[in-house]
Amino acid sequence: MSMFDLLNIGTRGLAAAQSQLDLVGQNVTNANTEGYSRKRANLQAGARQDGVYGEVGFGVDVVNIKSMRDSLLNRQMQEVATTLGEREQLDKELLSVENVLTEPSDSGLNKFLDKFWSSWQDLANNPADVTARQAVLDASSSLVGRFQDIGNQFNQLIAAKNEEISSYTGQINQLLEGIAKDNQTISESEMGGERTTANDTRDQRELKLNALSRMLEISYTEDAQGRYVITAAGSLLVSTEGALPLKVERSQFSLADGSQVSRSTVTLSSTGQELEPAGGSLKSLFVTRDDIIPRYQNQIDEYAKRLVQSVNAQHSQGYDLAGSTGTNFFDPATTGASTIDLSATVKNGTAFLAAAFGGTSQGLGAPLDLTIPAAGEPLDIGNTVNTNYRNFSANSVIVRTVGPPSVLLKEGAGNDYTVDYRGGRIMFNNSAASMTAPGTDITVDFRYTSAAYNGQGDGNNALKIAQLAQTKIAAPDQFGNYTATLGDAYSSLVGKLGAEKSNSASTLTTATNLKDYLQKQIDSISGVSMDEELGNMVKFQNSYSASARYINTVSRLMDTLIGLGQ
């Protein structure tokens, strides 16, 4: 063994201590870096062959620098990230649905419905009162406005989800590119074997993988060169060659209420097929857009339609202040909450509200100039002249020939004619002798009863409309029978939403707790402990000093040796 070997051993000791101190510095400064795992230098006692003694010690070797990391925990973490991402997103979406309905509050649909029904009650109490009529219009406009607001907000939410899907896809693509690049770096760097592990790039890649998992459920394998191959739903996203980014395609799509939105779909560039995310926040976006929002929106749309149908059915039976009947209260073309509106007639003014239910009125048939029909045919006044001319009053029918001379015809079996009083028909016996031959001109006069406006004090139709509040007109069962009032159906919808939201909140808490627990475990292995590092620092510092002193000693030895020769 030569003197220079001694010097070499000392130098190698210095180098080892230096590289260890180097790592302490690296660890301490990266203590708060996300995804950083602490590094350790693995040392090994060096040896070399000696001609005399065989293998002899040759100082210390730094074998490699190793990241402290548990790949099993990392895999678990990545799976939890998917669950967490999915639930976090879902919880956020349900909160926004809750915010659309704003229950329980004074601006919720329920309050507006209550006010609407109440206004009809007040109208029933004061059917001719302009103030009460205006109050109905005001309450209806507010209700319609609230419905439209909800419908539009749902539509906007769906549009927003489509935007988010494409922006999330963009983020996913960036991550895929990043991972592919890291794969490249790692495989190139690690050509040199274990000694050249790309620790920091691996940390970065792990971070990206977690971020990716939050958005999309993926599975990955690591190949022999340390590259991650990532698949989603069985299709490649990152191969050993590089990233296969997702594509967003937009198409026009009609919502339930007929409004058009641009709908985003995500396709895989590896297979060209549509991606159906199995987990992650992207899945929640799809679920929100395709299931959650439509589910609540359809219900609200259904309520709007049922309200329109039921109120219109009753309203059109009633009479307005001018005595006209058959008008709709709401626009019958309503397809859902966003398109509900008052009918054009009702918008014209308060007089068109059909508060009266109507009754019968006695009418005076103007003397009609008619002709006796062909033999055997009845003179069908109720069908051919005016549909109101039915239900003639007893003994009120008077038939005369036009003349001259004007002859009064006699009623009764065996006489000139008989009358079907209810149907408004006159049957002639067609005898030429009594001037009842077909073609003879006659005048007919009568009194009749018809369905009619019952006067301004009649609020019974308004009352009937108000009573729809208590009528089961919503929530059809499998036989199509309605099982709940509108208010009750809506209340239970809000309850369902509440249950769904609180359920999602508690599953989110579970996922968050699981993540915190795993994070703790990972930190326990990979996290930087200041105390530990500083302890190590003192240790490595000492070891450095010792090596230096050793070199100093060797140097003195050499001095001594060199002094001998002088």
Binding site: S118, N454, G459, Q467, G498, A499, D516, V528, M530, V538
Partner: protein
């Protein structure tokens, strides 16, 4: 042994503090709004119940308004019917006086003019209004149910029941309501009934000599001409005042929903109070009385007494009906207030914050929060750095 790192401790401290802050915020929201329910997810069952309870309270309030409105209708009706009662009592007294054989014709005419005043009163009672609505007109609240009309009619095309022209004397002519359509087509018009005795003039003819009148039914009976001044019925002009009943259908009832599935009529119909079109109405009875007095006939005056009394009975009956409906409204109102209070209590149980409990929760939570921050600060501080 698990390695504990600085990051783990600081994470734990942060999560703990955050959790406490979230809980504090929840309690804050409850305390500041006074409500337990602020989002459907706070209590999904409670929120459904609360929405329903709110609708129910709202309805109870509405029912109360309906009841109060109905009470106004019924009490106005009751007051009016009571004064109608007084009018008929007086008419009955006058009938008793008028049927006394010792009264002379001018005295009876004096009594007649007093009955005439009663008729006017009765008409105005029948036309009682509430907030501009005629309350005895069924649902035809914009039309007075009875009115005194002055009619002028020229007899032409006078026909008998078989619609054959009449121009012979003696003859009986039915007078028709000319406000609807001219008299040439009698079938179109209802008869003009209840003519006020003392108001009729016919072209200088003398009542009793040339003609007699059935005032109740509105028929004029032209007598065989003795003085030679009556050649024909046609062409004669008749003037008279009569009590016209609105031709509209006044049978509709004014209803108020006072409880769920309970609708009470709050009006008294004209038929119920004053008698229907085909019955002997209160006006028929008064006209009958006037006719007795007008024609100076004690027997006819006496004959009108049972009619007046029947009308009185009818009026009392109507008054009783109104009274019993009023009672129903009063009991319903009591029930309504009780239900309302119960609903308020239930709503409050579900929605309102139990302040004592929540404030004590809040204070507990606040202490935990402060403790977690203090402990956190103590734990995070020391590290080997400080000691080297």
């Amino acid at each position: 042994m698990t390695r504990i790192t600085y990051g783990m401790i600081s994470n734990d401290v942060q999560v703990g503090i955050q959790n406490n802050a979230v809980k504090l915020d929840e309690l804050m929201t409850k305390l500041s709004t006074g409500k337990v329910l602020n989002q459907p997810s706070d209590d999904s069952v409670g929120v459904t119940k609360s929405l329903k309870l709110h609708s129910q309270s709202n309805r109870q309030d509405q029912y109360l308004r309906n009841i109060q409105d109905g009470q106004a209708w019924l009490s106005t009706s009751e007051t009016a019917l009571k004064s109608g009662n007084d009018v008929l009592q007086r008419a009955n007294e006058l009938a008793i006086q008028g049927s006394n054989g010792t009264y002379s014709a001018p005295e009876r005419l004096y009594l007649r003019s007093e009955v005439r005043v009663l008729v006017d009163q009765m008409v105005s009672i029948a036309n009682t209004t509430l907030k501009g609505d005629f309350i005895f007109a069924g649902t035809q609240t914009d039309t007075p149910p009875y009115s005194i009309e002055s009619a002028t009619d020229t007899l032409s095309n006078v026909e008998n029941d078989n619609a054959e022209l009449l121009d012979t004397i003696p003859a009986t002519v039915q007078l028709y309501d000319t406000t609807l359509r001219d008299s040439s087509t009698p079938t179109g018009n209802p008869p003009a009934k209840d003519i006020l005795p003392g108001t009729m003039t016919i072209d200088g003819l003398v009542e009793g000599t040339d003609y007699t009148v059935d005032y109740k039914n509105g028929t004029v009976n032209f007598l065989t001409d003795t003085a030679g001044d009556l050649a024909a019925v046609q062409g004669l002009t008749i003037n008279y005042d009569w009590i016209r009943r609105s031709e509209k259908d006044m049978s509709g009832s004014v209803n108020r929903e006072v409880q769920q599935n309970m609708t009470i009529p709050v009006n008294v119909g004209p038929d119920q109070a004053f008698g229907g079109r085909t019955e002997t109405s209160v006006f028929d009875a008064l006209i009958g009385l006037m006719q007795g007095l007008h024609t100076n006939s004690p027997s006819q005056t006496q004959a009108s007494m049972p009619e007046v009394q029947d009308s009185l009975k009818r009026l009392l009956q109507a008054q009783t009906t109104a009274g019993s409906r009023m009672n129903r409204l009063d009991t319903t109102q009591d029930q309504n207030r009780q239900d309302y209070t119960a609903l308020q209590e239930q709503t409050s149980l579900i929605e309102d914050v139990d302040f004592a409990k929540t404030i004590s929760d809040f204070q507990n939570r606040q202490q935990v929060y402060q403790a977690s921050m203090q402990v956190g600060a103590k734990i995070i501080q020391p590290s080997l750095v400080n000691f080297l």
